[in-house]
Symmetry: D2
Subunit: 435 residues, 4 copies
């Protein structure tokens, strides 16, 4: 038995029956997540938001355990097939919950723009690689378990679709933990919901023959609305925060520039491989290097690059280290955006610096994920950090007493309003001193 204290969930306990979780926590791949902040540069705007992907991963495993235990204890309703099914996959469910983020690199978003590989691919690469400790622990428990965890994370695990949904859908344990945790750590007061009631109201049901994670119709509607509103506010105020977005884009530009000028650093094998474009999730050597990357390496590189001969690399490094973040001006019309960009580009050229780096047209909509509750189609990424893989369930269902599903936006005028809302977050970014 192993217990942790946690600011979000208070007490996190894994009993001996879940020893696999304890063993996985002790692997170096999971320990690495201690050195990667969940919100990347989110703490630039919300100074308390300094928590790591490690503590988030613990939280997701904890919520998964609570949900499975609640199913087991719910003596009232006959346990149905879907629930029994989930119980059978307890070890798989807990392992997947704990490991769902092990492929994240530092400043995930910016890194992906350089690797051109989504972090999920690294996650499954790490799970499948026979040299990783997580692979070894999983195989030690059950032959083939690492592959099954990979398929849950890839959303292709067919024996229990409910399990897949529990980890990745509109209402999954990953989101529940990160929303609660990000809300607490940022101190953003509107971003909370009652997780006790949410767990109390959660149900496994069926929609068009496919298992879905949903909520009890009577108990769940208001908490579902509250949860959706929480997500909405977290995007509005935290994830798309002007300064945080600007800082993230600056890291992206920094890494692009480092790649462009091939700014290798002696001894930084992982970073150098990254800059050479050699980090691939299917290659053992690559994975081993990738697993060395963490926030500290990128920050240290900035320290070293702040004396690099390339002026742009030097300048971006120092700006990020000293929090001289670009100013972001909202683009409110095509014309105003066009004019502003043109004006700033002329300014850049007048100062003899490259507009490619110093005048940035940032649309938060640059990612492909479509989330019907947050955005209208095509307008905007709903999740700046974790683009959800294809096929994620795009709806939340409320199940009535007969088990019949009701799509949330159909029953809730509030969710309907949020769904139809177009969110724009296009901004022109440029050095603060030009403002």
């Amino acid at each position: 038995m192993k217990s942790f204290r946690d600011p979000v969930h208070n007490l996190i306990v894994f009993q001996n029956e879940d020893q696999v979780v304890i063993d996985l926590i002790n692997t170096k791949e999971v320990q690495r997540l201690r050195r990667i902040r969940q919100l990347g540069l989110g703490n630039i705007a919300y100074p308390g938001a300094e928590h790591s992907r490690f503590v988030h991963s613990l939280g997701v495993a904890h919520l998964m355990r609570r949900f499975l235990d609640a199913l087991r204890e719910g003596h009232d309703q006959q346990m149905n097939d879907l629930q029994r099914d989930l119980q059978d996959y307890r070890t798989l469910a807990l392992s997947s919950a704990l490991l769902h983020d092990i492929g994240h690199g530092p400043f995930s978003h910016a890194l992906e723009s350089v690797t051109k590989v989504r972090h999920e691919q690294f996650t499954v690469g790490i799970l499948r690689s026979p040299t990783t400790e997580v692979h070894q622990v999983l195989e030690g428990v059950q032959t083939g378990l690492s592959e099954r965890v990979a398929s849950v994370i890839e959303r292709t695990f067919d024996p229990s679709r409910a399990l897949v949904k529990l980890l990745s859908s509109q209402l999954d344990m990953d989101r529940v933990d990160y929303l609660l945790r990000d809300a607490l750590m940022t101190g953003a007061g509107y971003g909370t919901f009652d997780v006790e009631w949410l767990l109390h109201a959660m149900r496994i049901g069926e929609v068009d023959g496919e298992p879905e994670v949903g909520l009890d119709l009577k108990k769940g509607q208001s908490i579902a609305e509250d949860y959706i509103m929480c997500r909405y506010y977290m995007y509005l105020h935290v994830y798309f925060h002007r300064t945080t977005r600007a800082a993230e884009v600056m890291v992206e530009k920094l890494l692009q520039r480092a790649r462009e000028v091939q700014a290798f650093l002696p001894g930084f094998d992982a970073l150098n491989a990254l800059l050479k474009g050699r980090l691939q999730p299917t290659d053992e050597q690559s994975l081993s290097l990738y697993l060395q990357l963490d926030d500290g390496i990128i920050w240290t590189a900035m320290h070293l690059w702040s004396q690099h001969e390339d002026r742009i690399l030097r300048d971006f490094s120092m700006r990020l280290l000293h929090r001289k973040i670009f100013q972001g001006i909202d683009v409110e019309s095509e014309q105003q955006g066009f004019d502003l960009i043109q004006k700033m580009e002329q300014r850049a050229m007048a100062e003899g610096i490259s507009p490619d780096y110093y005048v940035i047209d940032d649309t938060a909509a640059s990612h492909a994920y479509h989330d019907p509750y947050i955005t209208s189609a095509g307008s905007l990424s709903a999740d700046a950090f974790t683009p959800v893989p294809q096929g994620a369930s795009e709806s939340i269902y409320l199940f009535d007493e007969t088990g019949h599903p009701h799509e949330l936006a159909e029953s809730s005028f509030i969710v309907k309003a949020v769904r139809n809302r177009r969110v724009y977050a296009r901004r022109v970014l440029f050095p603060e001193e030009w403002f």
Copy 2:
């Protein structure tokens, strides 16, 4: 006006009258604190405790502002000289509160064992150095302000002894913030006290002609006890946690070894200067290098050292990165300690490795601070992280209606009990696999 959200204090606001705080926050020396965790390796035992010295510093400035505002608003009691005095030094008080930790390096404790310089000396060095941004901001407000801040931090500022005590005594804003913050972030449920009531009960009084920060006798005794108990529990469970202590000692050993084998890293100017023993708080060049140090650099060095030719350096680096922390066994008698050390040293020699590094006799009492509320004389450091400079007020006073002071341990049998308590935290540390 500038506002921050914070998990501890919710809303932190600095109005325009306190513009200096906003300007100081934007300096690179203060921004550096974002990259240094308040509890060093505290998150090894409490995964949520990942907060930085930056957010703590904001919290201390916030508490100082609240206290000063409360004095101003307390229309009831005639504002006495001591209070008026504090109001006059508002800018100084807020600046000192925000800046009190800027001299901290990464893993403060371990670093000091290598630099042989206390972090406070770097703090005052940074304040006095004309090249730092904080110095420039302070002098821009008022000539000589940087020196006055330095003297508050050195506890030598005579015009207002109350101000000195507010920042550094048994009951100061620094402690109040870090206890609350560490308690929240660790999730350690016993470590809380009611900060609203504490601020409500705080008083500036006089003891033997010297101003002291204390509490109202009637309102303050229970909250003072609660605060002392909170400190006691935080030491017992968090600051002296077996695994955290072991990890800290391992970082100390790592840096010692790196120094011994002169394990310089190309481009790591600050770290190399550290290993060469060249970081001095009075030297401009040194200070500039020192200000580059942060947690990320040390972690990155471990990545690089994990391929170093020195076996010990390599091994310690990997153990720390992958959280293979030494086991700690309590020493319960001289004899048992002696036997255990001897046994482990033989084991080390049998394996051909150095007992100097692999068998460690760790007494948490290695620091000089005497805190009458926590320890009996000479037994043990009360504060593993922030050794308080000489002359810190060693008592908390309760002031009655006439202003007469009552020493807390005299009025409180609980504090008396805590004071007389000897705390031992001597442990023998060695590789976990020998256990």
Copy 3:
């Protein structure tokens, strides 16, 4: 100076400058509110919701004080005329806040259906009556103060319209306290919002030449939405709770019956006067009797009436004492409602009991208040307990940097959605055993 502890606001302090508040708290008219529960029978559905109108009144006075202090301390923005104006009326503002509910009787709603007098009329009657302690305290402070407090509560105080709005509008201190308090006490997790941020974002502005209490446009939109959502949920789940509504209607019927059968009780002068229809807010004698009414008297009457010769009175008394509350069935169509009522009436007649008492067509829309944020016109009362007097400001405004007001529902698609929502709460109530 006087301080209170409070589960909602933690520490409530009134300094000597606000001595009037302390003196008013000690009057018997304010002390009476300790014996009247804020939510009447709300604890029937939410067992923790047992708080009194007394502690709510303290909370409103506390919030008012905080708001006034915040205005005074906001040195940043020039204090404008509207703000200066409010400061001038500090004593009036605090007194009005504390006293706004003194005219409430027990089970306010039900009582008003018998007295045919709104509780506000008793409030102003009590203020104006020279025999009450509150009148005497107010006049002792300032001649005419009691009249001014009355006019604030009647919303006719012209010298400071802002003050009137602070106590009674869409965003007033009364609502802020009761929403927070009811949410905490019921334990209803969705009913919370961040009061610190709300106070931080509140502004006094001008709309069409009339002062209005509103919010800063940039800071206030999300918190305003959160506040509106909180109200929405509290109505949905707490104030219109099926069982609570049924119990309230039963008390109404009980009192009607007692009046019908003139069920006087020896010594119960106040209750007997009520049953005789003699309680008038303008009559000294009446007021004095009215001020004896409290929850305990009604409950005790039920004890006595449970042995009354009238079968209906006896039955309703026992049902309420033993929580045998009527079942409530939602009316989903005119036809279904008609059928259900007919069926139940036949049942009643078959059992030889009066359908007038045992089959109740309860529409929560029976009150006149139109709240654009909660209901569409004419559909439903938004506030089952405190019908807001005519002329209450019906909008919340967000003020931009130039002071220009933006109506909340215009800027917020969420509030717009809530506003256009029709809420039905029509139910047929009848004895549970018929279900």
Copy 4:
């Protein structure tokens, strides 16, 4: 299944397997507890403390269920005999937890001084009486269950001593709930402890062949200390609060006077029987009357008595209704107490009023309960409200890995200090206007 929201425990759920709890909640004897405040007149000093014995009883049943579920789920340690034993008595345990307070009257303390019967005797009387609903529900579940519940409450149930201890010992579910609840409702910030950790650390062990409820030695010591400190503070600041104590003594005097002058009220059968000394826990008729008593009846009696011909009864009634509570002066020496009493008695006689009623020598130590953690022998009642029956376990034990018990005060210097502390709360009470 039935769920409740609660400000203390958030969500309280009883599944169908515990249907008996739901049925018992619906009895009129349990419903009566809604009309009796847990802290009697505690809200006089802490205005938020208005919660009833009903919601407390729900909380105790909830904690009992959580503890039993935790035992069942603790798959790690083999479930031992003591635990299996407790599981067997699940229905009994939950029923006893819910019903432990049904014998409480209004203002329990004061009432007992008139009835000369402890409330526990009424509790068991009610359980045994075939006419009560609780008796009938219990017997409906299992013949003899009502008697078994009675014996648990009388502490004579031998088949499971652990069950008895869980409900009544130094560390029982009753205390855990009331301390948490009273702390939350009063807003008294020092009175909290981490109930999650407490439940996590609780163990059933054996001491001298007798089952005891205790804590894990490693995990439990600090939380045990915190719990003991919480109790200490709640006594110091809440339960023995000067004004609350004075008000309670005044109610006692009021009832004594009413008895003395035989101030019967028409229709108040229960109260009149009380004044006649006819309420006996073993008499059906008596019980039925006793079960009509609630706070409202006493308050209503005061309204009526405030016009009684007896001057003392009239005066006490009005003082209590309007919160003109007697002043309490601490007796710091025999001589000072003697002098003060003499002075006040002369004052009373000069005013022609009875010193027996107007000058009260109140020692909070008047009850027999000896609690080694709070008081030294003979000094003072530790529990002004619930004198614990003889034979209550007087110690808390910490169980080590081998199951060996360590008495808490032996391992904890803090508890030792609290235990040896003498607490005096002797005060002279008299009308405030004489002060």
